[in-house]
């Protein structure tokens, strides 16, 4: 069964900007899918619709067989709890420790008061530490997040998402602020979680070559429409130009796609 399904989804911001235009696709459980497309194409908008951080204008979105668009607050909270999210700017609470930030992944499953007071069980703390260890962050556990490098912060972001024990992880340009080496570490970790824990990953990327290397399926978006949906082998240079609406030699990417 599809874990996530978009059915003719459209989104209009402020009655003026049409960000998504009749988008349909579905993700099977365990898939690793990248979304590529130029700035303003609507990639972030797609991700934010999945857990209704923004409400869509038309269409339907199904998460694990349930209609997200018709959910009440409680059901929506359950969906969000089961959906991890990773951001370009990490979005951690900088003044709190690495450990506290990872434990935030459990907030959605806690009672309001326990969450407010930051009371976590010993098992939860142990789980958080083990996740950190798996991401080579054991030494940073008690550091404040503003003392970390970008690559380390993004790994904390991943740890927070894993802590949720999610079914789906949404990544909005997870490596856009990182150097090539840290980027590889982050992508390897994502790929690893996807394979090991069978968590479905939907990743927005700006680097076509990275998308081709890591994903089994690529969705190309331009101007709020899907213009490509298929395996990386099928993505030829003509399609890339169509997605980025560019001409030959206009692109900086060193992508080696089939002619």
């Amino acid at each position: 069964m599809a874990i996530l399904k978009f059915e003719n989804v459209s989104k209009v911001y402020d009655n003026t900007t049409k960000a998504l235009n009749d988008i349909s696709f579905s993700l099977e459980e365990g898939e690793f899918v990248s979304i590529i497309g130029p700035s303003g194409a609507g990639k972030s908008t797609i991700l934010r619709c999945c857990n209704r951080l923004i409400d869509i204008t038309e269409g339907k979105i199904w998460f694990d067989g349930k209609d997200v668009t018709a959910m009440n607050k409680k059901e929506l909270r359950a969906v969000r709890t089961k959906t991890g999210m990773i951001f370009q700017h990490y979005n951690l609470v900088e003044r709190l420790s690495v450990m506290e930030n990872v434990l935030h992944g459990k907030l959605g499953q806690k009672s309001t008061l326990a969450g407010m007071a930051g009371i976590y069980s010993e098992e939860e703390k142990l789980e958080a530490f083990n996740i950190l260890r798996g991401l080579d962050l054991a030494d940073q556990t008690y550091k404040r997040c503003d003392e970390l490098s970008g690559g380390q912060k993004q790994r904390v972001g991943i740890a927070r998402a894993i802590m949720q024990q999610p079914k789906l992880i949404l990544c909005d340009e997870p490596i856009a602020s990182l150097d090539p080496k840290s980027s590889k570490v982050i992508m390897d970790h994502l790929s690893n979680i996807n394979k090991r824990d069978n968590i479905t990953c939907l990743v927005n990327l700006h680097q076509v070559d990275v998308a081709m290397k890591y994903s089994k399926r690529i969705i190309g978006v331009t101007g709020g429409r899907i213009v490509f949906d298929g395996p990386p082998e099928k993505l030829d240079i003509k399609t890339v130009h169509k997605i980025y609406q560019s001409n030959d030699s206009d692109l900086i990417t060193d992508v080696k796609v089939g002619a």
Binding site: R77, R80, T83, F87, N91, E94, G115, R160
Partner: protein
Amino acid sequence: MDMAIQLTGIEKSRNGKIRVRAKSKSNTAIKLLIFVLLAISVIALLTFDYKDIDLGKAIADTFANIKTVFLAPKLSRGTLADILYQLLVTFCLGALSTVFGMILAFFCSLLCAQNIADKRIANVVKSIVAFVRAVPTVLWVLIFAISAGLGSVAAVLGLTFHSFAYLTKVYAEAIEEIDSGTIEALRASGAGFWQIITQAILPSSLSYMVAWTFMRFEINFTNAVAMGAAAGAGGIGFNLFMAGSFYFDLREMGALTYIVVIAVVLLEMLSTKIKSKAK
């Protein structure tokens, strides 16, 4: 040199040099404001009723008084212990109104910080708070005095009211400083409103809020001194008022003034310390 080529788009300021500042109306607005203030001052000076005061003598007398106040202070009415007790009363007036104002302001700031509140509610609350802040503290005290009578109750209410409005603005600004992405990340993980408040907003802006609250406490303390004199709120302000206007004891006034100054300086030092600790 050929600097003149391809310079379309570059602008010159009035003195013929190349302009670097951003365009804005604020410069003209500020100039206008200064001009209006100057004009008002001149008109006020010209129309003031001087009642045939001999300016030279008045100034000389004032200086003589100031000299007595500051160079020959002496406590003659009441012991030092009495005075320190009155100082404590003033301190408590200031602290009470700061604490009440702080609590009210915290909840109110949650309603009007743009990044967490509903936009329409935020605008309404912000306008109300701006109005409360625009009315001076003394006026609020006098307004509350209508129902509570002049005294410490009216003073605390008035001080609280103004502190509340002031701190609401400051807290809301502190919250608006927080990256909206941080809040979004917690929302996306299923955290509720109050969890986000204590787990993301408080840790991010607490030190800023503490620093400003203490600053407001300093203001409230000095206001409480004034209220002791002007609104009969008690405390050291009342002693000052009695010494000056009732007993004409300038030396006593001097001593009291020094005590207040020392207290304010001590508070200031404490506040600096808190600020550097809170980082």
